[in-house]
Amino acid sequence: MTNETVLQVNDLTVQFGGVVACDNLSLEVHQGELFALIGPNGAGKTTLVNAVTGIYEPKPGASVKFRGRNGEMTDLLAYRPHQIARMGVARTFQNLGVFDAQTVLDNMMLGRFMHEKTNIFHYGLFSSVAVKKELAARRVCQSIVELLDLQDVRDELVSELPYGVQKRVELGRVLAMEPHLLMLDEPMAGMNAEEKQEMVRYVYRIMDEFKTSVFMIEHDMGIIMAIAERIMVLEFGREIATGVAEDIQNNPAVIDAYLGAEH
């Protein structure tokens, strides 16, 4: 693993009226690592991801730098969300961002949106160019479907699938984007231990196969401690600690926050 930075956030503050959801946060995600963000509910984790992906606007003075595949650092704050996505930042949503009314395959094909660009007339007339693009996209999606064991439900409507499978579909969709940095917002929330295990396996396979860096928000301390290379802990929008698993586990402030949150 190299120590090259993929994502560098500096002095990020997001405010909603009086609520400071993210208070002057700075962090770095390295190439090929699994970086975890933890913290109690309402700590501002989702807000941080939203600010990085361009949905919320942070206060002036912040900087969010991203190193794309081509190795150049760009400041994401100057771009709109779809442009950020096209640079290779993909994310999942805490409360599922799948398209219920479409099939599993179509959801994944949406992930290929930015890779199969052609003039609309090619699609309207379904010319050989369009056929070629569609086939290429299908091939990629088919391999992801198989990677995530979704073969049996490939042509079913997403709304008819159980929650855990929907989560997997969402993961498959961001995979189809071939992201350089993958931001997962509570990918294992509401899953049982077995499903969590499976999800971890998928995340590992993704990191192996696509050399993707992963930024993961998760509640389950046990799993986080086991899989994350570095961890950052938030509380009330402020950073309490950042470091490797053992440091975090023994950090008195973290213990305080978690005991305080759970009792």
Partner: protein, 447 residues
Amino acid sequence: MTSVTETATPASRQILAKRTPTWMRALPFLVAIASPVILDKISWNPFGGWKLLVGFLVLVGIGWFAWSNAEHDPDDPRLSLKLWHRADQRALAAVTCFVLMAIPFILSTDWEPPMDFPWNSWFRIVNYIILFALGAGAFNLLVGYTGQLSMAHAAFLMIGTMVGAQVGLIWEQSFWLCLPVAALAGAVLGVFFGIPALRLRGLYLMLATIGVHFIILLVWKEYIVHQFGFSGMRFTTPNLPSWLHWIPGINPEDGEFLINSQFRWFWVNLGITTVGLLFIVNVVRSREGRAFAAVRDRDISATLLGINVPRSKLVSFALSSALVSVSGCMLSYYNRARSEDSFHLELVLDYGIIIVVGGFMGIQGAIFGSIFFFALPMYFEWMREELPIISDIDFFSRYAGEIDLAIRGILVVVVLVWRPDGLAGLWQAMKKRALLRMQAPRRGVVQ
């Protein structure tokens, strides 16, 4: 993503389709090639002369195209990209084609059906159904697929009509030039009037587009009064360009071939509507169409997939408006006359009824909806006039229009309450049931 290994198709999917025997696929060619001889034998030659030859060469060409595109391997992924890839879909498409081809010939015969079925006025209705299906399909692209509740539909019909009048009547150019110009004008203005959609949603967008309707209506009234006076527009009869006179079935009189009968309009309408609807279907089932649906369902998710949401909305507006404006131009030429108040806001609601009753989420819906909208009143009229008991009741004939209106309103509500997915949903459910029933015994044997 080259690192992903391509796995072979699992065995479970390998029994998808059986290959059609070669002789069976060759049959159409043989028939096509042999048909001049056959027709000659039964001494019926509808086209005459060398055109017969051209016609059958074209037929052979189509057959060859179908042949070369037919799947040779049931596991070929291209199979799933075909519009009609299951056997039942193909059979249905073939039957539909056949029926469509047969309709004008049947309707133009002098045959008097029993009980005075209004054969001749049905031809007009069929033509309207076809033209409205195009407009409704385009409307549905915007409202159903992209979720942009626009009421500026009639506005674009007006734009198409104005372009048709300006290009065709004032500049005296060919009708065939009007259509692309109308499409272009529709697309450009569609983008312009789609701009409110970037900021407004749902109800508010609906209101803003009603505003657009009234603004265009004002322009329309000014235009028609200044250019044509109070008597309104009278459209000329389109003329098929002479370089197309080789088409079989075309017998120019005095070197001209005017589109002046229901029979001839039928083919023009059918051709353009088919092209337009197929274009929409193709867009909807590929990249752009998936993006439209994504924008409709969750625009934030869509953004984060790299979809430029404003652009997608505007593309949808442009495409829909272009086709609506073409259909407006066609409707006006078909209708022959347009006056100051030919386009009400109610017209938009009529199109809305067509797509919602027909089925919101498909092009089929536009077709079923148009049939519902036009054929039903005709049918009622016939019942009122011909059915023994009903025709005796004075009330029905006195309030004919109102009763039709009331029944239509009631049917709209009934369909919406009883079958939210519209007539197309009903049709699909019926088809599914029938298919299951047909497959059931065979499956029993295999297992």
